[in-house]
């Protein structure tokens, strides 16, 4: 039995893949004071549904994967550990100097982004390692001892150690950890070469600092959860979702805390990848439209695209992460007339509190959700499974007062305009995410989820000439479900630094073997036999005068015939794919080798949906406003539509978690897994 749990801001989701009962889900309110309680609450709900005790449920678990925003929240709310830094003499201010930039260069009056380590706690010691790893100045143990004693006296709980060129020679960093632990002090220690084994002192320092900042809090939380679950009968180690879409055993996750900071969208991305694989779509774009924003991600050959660097509030996190673009448009985005008299949507959002006007929780501003309700796209009765009746009157009033009135439109036309602007924003956001990567959006399948995804999916696909839209049935717990599709993953890096023209098999093996050995050791430690360990290798290459690298994937088996020259050709081809040209005469360099060691977990088999009893008869009709007219559209209930069911637009499909609008001219069918597949009407 597999269990995935995902803690969100409002709800904690539990997904159970039961050997006999198939997919079971539960939602329980999140408990921010002690998030582990919400997890146990959700599990208890599932146990009750299965009519077993919690202990019995947990004892049958073979895999338990957990996604948490604890690390994210610690960073965003700046509630992390008190930190001390030990670094090379002359460089204590690197964190504060940053790379000299600022994210919004026009707004000159924003407050300075304070570093996570205050200047007095940034301490220098005499030591110097050179670019080739040789030691020019030895570490002075006595000086380090004094510094550590002072930091301890200052109440430091997280110790960051970052020396120049430590990725080449980590001896001094390791020595500081040994010295720190000589007595009875047990701070949370993060060494830069362990967190990020590569050149680039600012990226390494900043990432390591974030690690130590969120680490102690995440560590405490995971221990508590682990104990609580073990007490309740869980017999397997807890696995924790990482930003990369992989998972780590709880002890590793607590040490590499920075890997969880942007893990929020990873579950959804993995679910999108799983759906893309299941429907054999080589290229897919996922768009998850929630209350405040829309996450856009790309899936290539069944894997989410990744990035190696994320900036959060002027802090650099150089960790592998699924490459999600967040657009500031969501159901709660507020529509307004801007200073120039033109309709605008967002960036202000009503969020969950007070929320859209139609929620009746005190919100009075018109939001996208209000507009969609006015248009009949959202059902006032079935929203959130009927737990939350929506007020059409309040939505009409808000749209009338703040948009329709000032623009001289009737309220439905105003709502249409808001809806159309949202479609445009999402479509352009998707276009940019694809264009930036050298793709054409028309080659993609659109996978829509999140509360508001289904309302806009058809229209967005039409704008982009996307031929297929897929809306999964499990939309509301997709993120938790996606976690079950993950593998245990250790990403490790080593410097290569050899011109591609001179690169040999030996260069690559020399870099690969130690990384593979480390990853293998960790995976074996988590119980993986060699037959379930796999490696993916990426050589990060660049032209000499460039900073950005291009990932060149290869398999170690390709080196068997003794030749590594294929790497240079592959780099050039990959570069050409991305940029439309290559530089034959330029010196190309193999910078770093990245090895992603995977401990393969049992692949998740999504259960098939029951076949359609008959071509689904609509449950009801309701008026929906289209671009030029209002039509009485058939309303289907998603759960009524079995595999093979077909319907034609205009139609609405409601479920407990979402509404889907099928526009006139579009056709929709339900596939074997129960997802609704829309073929948008003719696009030019």
């Amino acid at each position: 039995m597999l269990i995935g749990t995902d803690i969100g801001g409002t709800f904690t989701d539990v997904v159970v893949m039961h050997p006999e009962r198939g997919l079971l889900t539960a939602k329980s309110p999140s408990t921010p004071d002690d998030p582990s309680r919400g997890v146990v609450d959700g599990l208890t709900l599932v146990a009750r549904e299965l009519d077993v005790e919690l202990r019995e449920l947990l004892s049958g678990v073979t895999l338990f994967i957990h996604g948490t925003t604890v690390a994210t929240n610690i960073l965003v709310e700046r509630k992390g550990a008190r930190l001390g830094l030990v670094t090379t003499r002359g460089f204590r201010d690197l964190l504060e100097l940053r790379d000299g930039t600022k994210s919004d260069r026009y707004n000159l009056r924003t407050p300075f982004a304070e570093p996570l380590v205050a200047r007095p706690a940034r301490r220098e010691v005499g030591e110097r390692t050179l670019y080739d790893g040789t030691v020019a100045e030895a570490l002075d143990d006595a000086e380090v001892g004094d510094v550590l004693a002072e930091l301890r006296a200052d109440g430091v709980e997280g110790l960051v150690v970052c020396f120049l060129h430590a990725h080449r020679n980590p001896a001094h960093e390791t020595a500081v950890r040994t010295l720190a632990r000589q007595g009875d002090w047990r701070p949370y220690v993060s060494l830069s070469h362990e967190i990020l084994g590569r050149e680039g002192e600012y990226d390494r320092l900043s990432t390591t600092t974030v690690n130590a900042y969120v680490g102690p809090g995440l560590d405490r939380y995971l221990r508590r959860l682990d104990e609580r679950l073990a007490d309740a009968g869980l017999g397997v180690p807890l696995l924790v979702m990482q930003s990369s879409g992989g998972v780590l055993p709880v002890a590793d996750a607590a040490k590499r805390a920075v890997g969880a900071v942007t893990s929020g969208p990873a579950g959804g991305a993995m679910a999108g990848a799983m759906l893309a694989r299941a429907s054999a779509a080589p290229l897919a774009v996922t768009y998850d439209m929630g209350g405040t924003s829309t996450d856009v991600g790309l899936i290539e050959d069944g894997e989410p695209l990744e990035r190696g660097r994320t900036d959060v509030d002027e802090l650099r996190l150089a960790v592998r992460a699924v490459d999600i673009a967040a657009l500031g448009t969501g159901g709660g985005s507020i529509a307004s007339i801007d200073a120039g008299g033109i309709l605008e949507l967002g960036p202000e959002s009503a969020g969950a509190v007070p929320g859209p006007a139609c929620y009746g929780r005190g919100g009075t501003r018109p939001t996208l959700t209000d507009a969609n309700l006015v248009l009949g796209y959202v059902s006032p009765q079935t929203f959130l499974g009927g737990r939350m009746p929506l007020s059409v009157d309040a939505a009409v009033r808000a749209v009338q007062e703040e948009v329709a009135g000032p623009l001289g439109l009737d309220v439905e036309e105003a709502a249409l305009a808001i809806n159309a602007l949202a479609n445009s924003r999402v479509a352009e956001g998707i276009r940019q995410a694809t264009v930036r990567r050298g793709f054409d959006p028309r080659d993609f399948t659109l996978i829509a989820f999140g509360g508001a995804g289904g309302i806009h999916a058809d229209a967005v696909a039409r704008e982009l000439s996307i031929p297929t839209v897929l809306i999964p049935r499990e939309a509301s717990v997709l993120s938790a479900l996606g976690m079950l599709a993950a593998d245990v993953r250790h990403d490790l890096e080593a410097t290569v630094g050899v011109p591609l023209a001179e690169l040999t098999r030996e260069n690559l093996l020399e870099a690969f073997e130690p990384l593979a050995a480390t990853a293998r050791e960790r995976l074996r430690g988590s119980g993986f036999g060699d037959e379930r360990i796999a490696f993916r290798c990426f050589l990060q290459c660049r032209y000499e005068r460039q900073v950005y690298t291009v990932d060149v994937p290869f398999d170690v088996a390709e080196l068997d015939d003794g030749d590594a020259s294929f790497v240079a050709r592959r780099f050039e081809a990959r570069y050409r794919e991305l940029y439309g040209h290559s530089h034959g005469d330029e010196l190309a360099i193999a910078d770093m080798l990245r090895v992603s060691g995977r401990g393969l977990l049992d692949p998740l088999a999504l259960p098939d949906a029951p076949p359609a009893a008959a071509v689904g008869e609509p449950r009801a009709t309701r008026p929906i406003r289209l671009a030029r007219e209002t039509v009485e559209a058939p309303v289907h209930w998603f759960d009524d539509l079995g595999a093979g069911a077909e319907l034609a637009g205009p139609a609405v499909v409601d479920s407990a978690s979402t509404s889907i609008v099928v526009l006139p001219g579009s056709r929709a069918t339900v596939d074997v897994r129960g997802s609704l597949v829309i073929e948008p009407g003719a696009t030019a």
Binding site: G90, F91, R92, L94, L97, R98, D99, G100, T101, K102, R105, Y106, N107, L108, R109, R119, P120, L130, Y131, D132, L164, E199, G200, E201, Y202, D338, A339, G340, G341, I342, L343, E344, G408, L409, E413, L416, A417, A420, L421, S424, E428, Q432, V435, R462, E463, G497, Y543, Q546, V547, Y548, L578, Y579, H581, L626, A627, L663, G681, A682, T683, A684
Partner: protein, 561 residues
């Protein structure tokens, strides 16, 4: 790309000029298309400096060359395009569908020769309805010094190849002869060729998408959208200025290397605020000089717009309509409105900074909430030598930018620098620098006491010490400012510390450098010690909150003064 919903578009309301739905969507589309052009350029440009620093901008203008939407990566590109496109349109009288024009000439609406602009017309029937333009800073366009910035140039022709408007593409056919001729005039022919082709890919992409918008909504509706978008830009700027105190105000921006002899050049401005408009008058500025700081009119206007941009809150509605609220007056033949053959290479950096500062200083009394202290000036230097493998290289300094000015609410940012492009290109890594070149960086730290004192303190500059450890001597060249004129304080705040750059020899000899230190030989062991300027303070230092003073002391931002 015509979606089927198009035919179902609601009819234009009789009461309004354009349907609000169409207007909102068209404005957003044009912004998104400008962004897509820049993304296309980023993805296809050839030379490393362009895809790293993104020194280019995509702009959509209407048929009269009024900016509607832009995706700028460099502030000074913002307001400069209308003049450039007007110059190009005026220079070619048989513009046809499928043509792409190219120009860089400062005396045809350009800024400096390195900025090569491509513009493609989009036709509605016989008329040009839009111009799709992209401007990119090219690495080299000929002239007496590599890279184009030469303090020795006396005339613009010495700064590189002048390109009055020419057709790069004629009715869809690339003029290979023209491209070859331009590329042949660059020291980096292949890169220039690749980058111009990338610009072409970007304007083609933009034009294709704007044509689709035009087809979808029709010329009549689009025309009305254009007017409404421009009106909106104007309304926002007028409202901003309307909040300011009426009157005439004066400010001076200074170039410490204003002429060939290194003399200071002051650029006085008067700004008159009347109701909701501003008159920015530079006619008191001195005559043009035989030195690269002259600023062509388009660049002068662009710098003024950047200053107003920094003063306002709402950047999103920025377009050509905004400039209707601002009259810029210059005197022909002066340093801010020169005539050929005055050289202009430094106008987008040095002169732009001085213009922006002059306007910001002048407006201080009109818009007291918006005041901001002076920023560190750019002081760049390069080292040419041989690496450990014996290959030649030129290393450019991108560390240690200096502090930003303080404002009413906050201290200035440390290590941000330069008002013409705050932040700018990211600093490289120390480790990469040491691994690639025979250079050892010994210190990179905040510079205590460099921020100008005030109720809010200026941002700190930095200390950067680097040793040349090459076997053979290297050559050190500098170009920059801020060694004599400090970043100014405002509203009673004090100025920040000056740039202080020196070379310290192993025997202790010290060479204090100015912004034109040139051809200095570095030998093994010589150390470059670079203290960058701090930002200007804001408000009376006596009113600095006690906890801020205590923190400055505890953190060592301020020592014993």
């Amino acid at each position: 790309m015509t979606a089927p919903t198009r035919q179902e578009e609601p009819p234009v309301l009789a009461a309004a000029d354009v349907h609000p739905l169409t207007l909102a969507v068209v404005r957003h589309k044009l912004e998104a298309i400008a962004e897509e052009m820049v993304q296309t350029m980023t993805r296809t440009c050839f030379s490393p400096h362009l895809n790293q620093s993104q020194d280019f901008s995509g702009v959509i203008l209407d048929g009269a060359a009024r900016t509607l939407a832009q995706a700028e990566r460099v502030p000074i590109h913002m307001g400069a395009m209308p003049e450039a496109i007007r110059g190009m349109a005026a220079g070619i009288d048989d513009v046809a569908p499928g043509d792409v024009l190219m120009a860089n000439d400062p005396y045809w609406g350009g800024s400096h020769l390195l900025d090569v602009t491509l513009a493609k017309p989009v036709f509605a029937g016989e008329r040009v309805a839009f111009w799709i333009a992209l401007r990119a800073h090219q690495g080299d366009i000929g002239g007496i010094s590599a890279g184009g910035y030469s303090p020795d140039a006396r005339e613009v022709v010495q700064e590189g190849l002048r390109l009055p408007p020419v057709k790069l593409v004629e009715r869809g056919v690339l003029r290979e002869d023209v491209l070859r001729m331009v590329a042949a005039n660059s020291r980096k022919s292949e890169e220039l060729r690749g980058d111009v082709l990338a610009e072409l890919a970007a304007v083609d992409r933009g034009a294709e998408r704007v044509e689709a918008v035009l087809r979808r909504y029709g010329a009549r509706q689009i025309e009305r959208c254009v007017e409404a978008i421009l009106d909106a830009g104007e309304a926002v700027m007028r409202r901003e200025i309307g909040n300011w105190r009426p009157g005439t105000y004066h400010g001076v921006g200074s170039l410490e290397l204003g002429d060939r002899d290194g003399g200071q050049l002051d650029l006085p401005v008067s700004v008159t605020i009347e109701d909701d408009r501003a008159v920015v008058d530079f006619s008191a500025c001195p005559d043009q000089v035989e030195f690269y700081v002259n600023s062509p009119l388009a660049n002068t206007r662009a710098a003024v717009l950047v200053a107003f941009q920094y003063l306002g809150e709402d950047r999103r509605t920025q377009n050509d309509g905004s400039l209707r609220a601002i009259d810029v007056i210059t005197r022909r033949g002066s340093v801010l409105d020169p005539v050929a053959p005055a050289p202009v290479a430094a106008c987008t950096v040095l002169t732009a900074s001085a213009i922006i500062e002059a306007v910001l200083k002048a407006v201080t009394d009109a818009a007291p909430d918006a005041v901001i202290g002076g920023f560190a000036r750019r002081f760049r230097f390069a080292i040419a030598g041989r690496d450990r493998r014996g290959r030649t290289f030129i290393w450019h300094q991108f560390f240690n930018r200096g502090g930003a000015g303080a404002n009413l609410r906050h201290d200035g940012w440390s290590n941000l620098g330069v008002i013409h492009n705050p932040g700018g290109t990211p600093s490289p890594s120390i480790e990469r620098t040491e691994a690639s070149y025979p250079l050892r960086i010994e210190e990179y730290a905040l510079r205590p006491d460099s921020g100008g004192r005030g109720r809010r303190r200026g941002g700190l500059g930095g200390v950067f010490r680097m040793r040349w450890i090459g076997e053979r001597p290297a050559i050190f060249n500098a170009t920059g400012e801020g060694c004599r004129i400090a970043p100014y304080g405002v509203a009673g705040g004090e100025p920040g510390a000056l740039n202080d750059i020196r070379i310290v020899r192993e025997d202790g000899e010290q060479l204090v450098l100015d912004g034109r230190a040139h051809g200095i030989a570095l030998v093994d062991g010589d150390e470059i010690v670079c203290h960058s300027a701090g930002g200007g303070g804001c408000g009376d230092p006596a009113q600095r909150p006690v906890d801020a003073i205590a923190r400055d002391r505890a953190y060592g931002y301020v020592t014993a003064r």
